[in-house]
Subunit: 349 residues, 2 copies
DNA sequence: TTGTAAGCGTTATCAT
DNA sequence: ATGATAACGCTTACAA
């Protein structure tokens, strides 16, 4: 039997500073360095300071992959949003990133393009990358996705929605729809139109429609089928939708738009068509984007604090990861912002 | 000497499927599985198919951290942008994410908040996470950042700019400023104002100002000190700036805004002040955001294709990582979009 | 309190 | 063409 050591060419190593380098420089073991830098274990205060200083001077940054592999946890949080084109989500992600960054976590970001299968694929990739937590948008996700997350024990939070079965940070989109509809009903409107994003891709849009419908039904009114138009989420599509709405036999006097972006398009069409807003026609949006204060007239809308959703989602995830107690139900406040595009129904003034 | 095996409590393992599981199920070694899945090495075609199928059926996803550790490379690309509030950057990141996603990479996203030190910190974190490539915005970065990247041999691309010393995907912001100024000069304007973002935080803003200045000087004109206003990047700030501009002794007849967002604010102020645009005053933006087609009148601006910057940055990075040849200089086309907010100088019509 | 070394899930080297 | 196994950089169970 051969007892000599097998020799083998060393593998290509990164030229970065490692725990070994720090340990050697400090005259201690790698275990001690690790303990100091991770704040667990017990190391004499004086030694701690010395190790920390040496690590600092050497410019040591722990290799995240190695750490993740050894400890079976990572400092990466994932988020999958439908699209970054929607500023609402961009702002939410921005706030999320900021908050987790303060806690030493980094953000792995993916987009689902409003598709559940894509979303599942993205989540698989994020899991492979070892995320410690995940933020999603809405509550309609692939069952396989929920299973996967449960199996891997990865904390999840659904944003921009409320959810019976999973932790969430958001608001009740049904209530949002109801609220804006009730406001217009109180203004005497009877004939309603609605322009929304594709409900096929957005449980939020579907909820808002339901809210509007509910409010109308309570007053014995209804949202006529031909007065509900679903469009891709673009200003120009909002304009097209409004044009279609104004060509029907019964013209609505109040048009609720699922988002401000669509409302801006609707408003632009009213302008072009010479329709007086809010004299002849009231238009309302949902979101309160920066722009909405600067349309003419300024847009009446519902304020939905995207940044707060991001921040509180981050806080939920961090707390959950670190084992601190947190509520799984996180309602974020919404507000009706009355500006210039809404008024009493014509002839009810 | 003690020759018995040391026993030790097993460490907490993840319950995910590993190469071992696949290897066992296929009756081969882990090496073979790895070779099949990574497409290197040489494995009999029939075996390849079998292994691939088994891996598929088992739902095997390689552990990214372990892979990164063993292979010293990762499938993660990093990006640090000033802010996600700026839709321009959001769109660029969106395109970048999409393109690298198609190639099996994921996106680690961080924000610098327009601060070089923050940016350096974020890049450090991304490097620790083992990014295979990095996209930054602009060309003004901490020297330490450049050193770090060089030392770690991480490919970098600077977006939204041109750069003498580093790979870039973007356009010459000086030329953009010059172009819009020349257009207005040709319209007979002599008195110019300019509203821009804080140059302190943006080499792009500084470049655009220089471009405007250059154009004016060529015609023997100048941008007066009190006619250049730097503001945070908000619509309302654009409005404030315009108000200030209109209160001075010499009122400009043409105001160039560093971004469309500022231009929207400026336009709103002109409206409120009862100033006729473009009769009395021409206003131009830079960016061509979706909104700019829907202001009244629609905004004249420079089109800067953010999505193309993202896509081409992704392509540069991927090519570089995979050792394919690519150009380090990537100019993206910009266009003057003449719409309704600009016209001949008053009295020159 | 500190050190030793096993083990995390892969890849890549060497042997067969 | 395939298998055995060292090595990747770190954390942590256990020994000292």
């Amino acid at each position: 039997m051969n007892t000599e050591l097998k020799k083998r060419a060393p593998r290509r190593k990164s030229n970065a500073i490692s725990v070994m380098d720090v340990a050697r420089a400090a005259g201690v073991s790698t275990a001690t360095v690790s303990r100091v830098l991770n704040g667990n274990g017990t190391v004499a205060p004086a030694l701690q300071d010395r190790v920390r200083e040496i690590a600092q001077n050497l410019g040591y940054t722990p290799h995240a992959a190695a750490r993740a592999l050894a400890s079976q946890r990572s400092k990466i949080i994932g988020a999958v949003i439908p699209s970054l084109e929607n500023q609402n989500f961009a702002l939410g992600v921005f706030a999320l990133q900021k908050r987790i960054g303060e806690a030493g976590y980094t953000l792995l970001l993916a987009c689902s393009y409003y598709d559940q299968e894509d979303e599942l694929k993205q989540v698989r990739a994020l899991i492979a990358d070892g995320i410690a937590g995940l933020m999603l948008v809405g509550r309609s996700h692939s069952p396989a996705l929920y299973e996967l997350l449960a199996k891997e024990r990865i904390p999840l939070v659904n944003g921009w929605t409320v959810d019976q079965h999973h932790p969430y940070v958001g608001f009740d989109n049904v209530a949002v729809g109801r609220r804006i509809a009730e406001y217009l009903l109180d203004l005497g409107h009877v004939h309603f139109g609605m322009i929304t994003q594709m409900t096929q891709h957005s449980d939020r849009a579907a909820d808002r429609i339901m809210g509007v419908r509910t409010a109308l039904q309570t007053r014995g009114l209804e949202l006529r089928h031909e007065h509900l138009i679903e469009m891709p989420h673009k200003i120009i599509e909002g304009q097209m939708a409004m044009r279609a709405l104004m060509q029907g036999p019964v013209r609505p006097t109040a048009v609720i738009c699922g988002t401000d972006l669509l409302a801006v398009g609707a408003l632009a069409e009213a302008h072009e068509a010479g329709i007086d807003v809010p004299g002849e026609l009231s238009i309302a949006g949902i979101n309160d984007i920066e722009f909405s204060s600067f349309t003419t007239p300024p847009l009446t809308t519902m304020r939905l604090p995207a940044d707060e959703i991001g921040t509180r989602s981050a806080e939920y995830l961090l707390a959950h990861i670190e084992g601190r107690p947190v509520s799984s139900q996180n309602i974020v406040p919404t507000d009706l912002i009355v500006r210039g595009t809404t008024g009493r129904a014509p002839g009810r003034g």
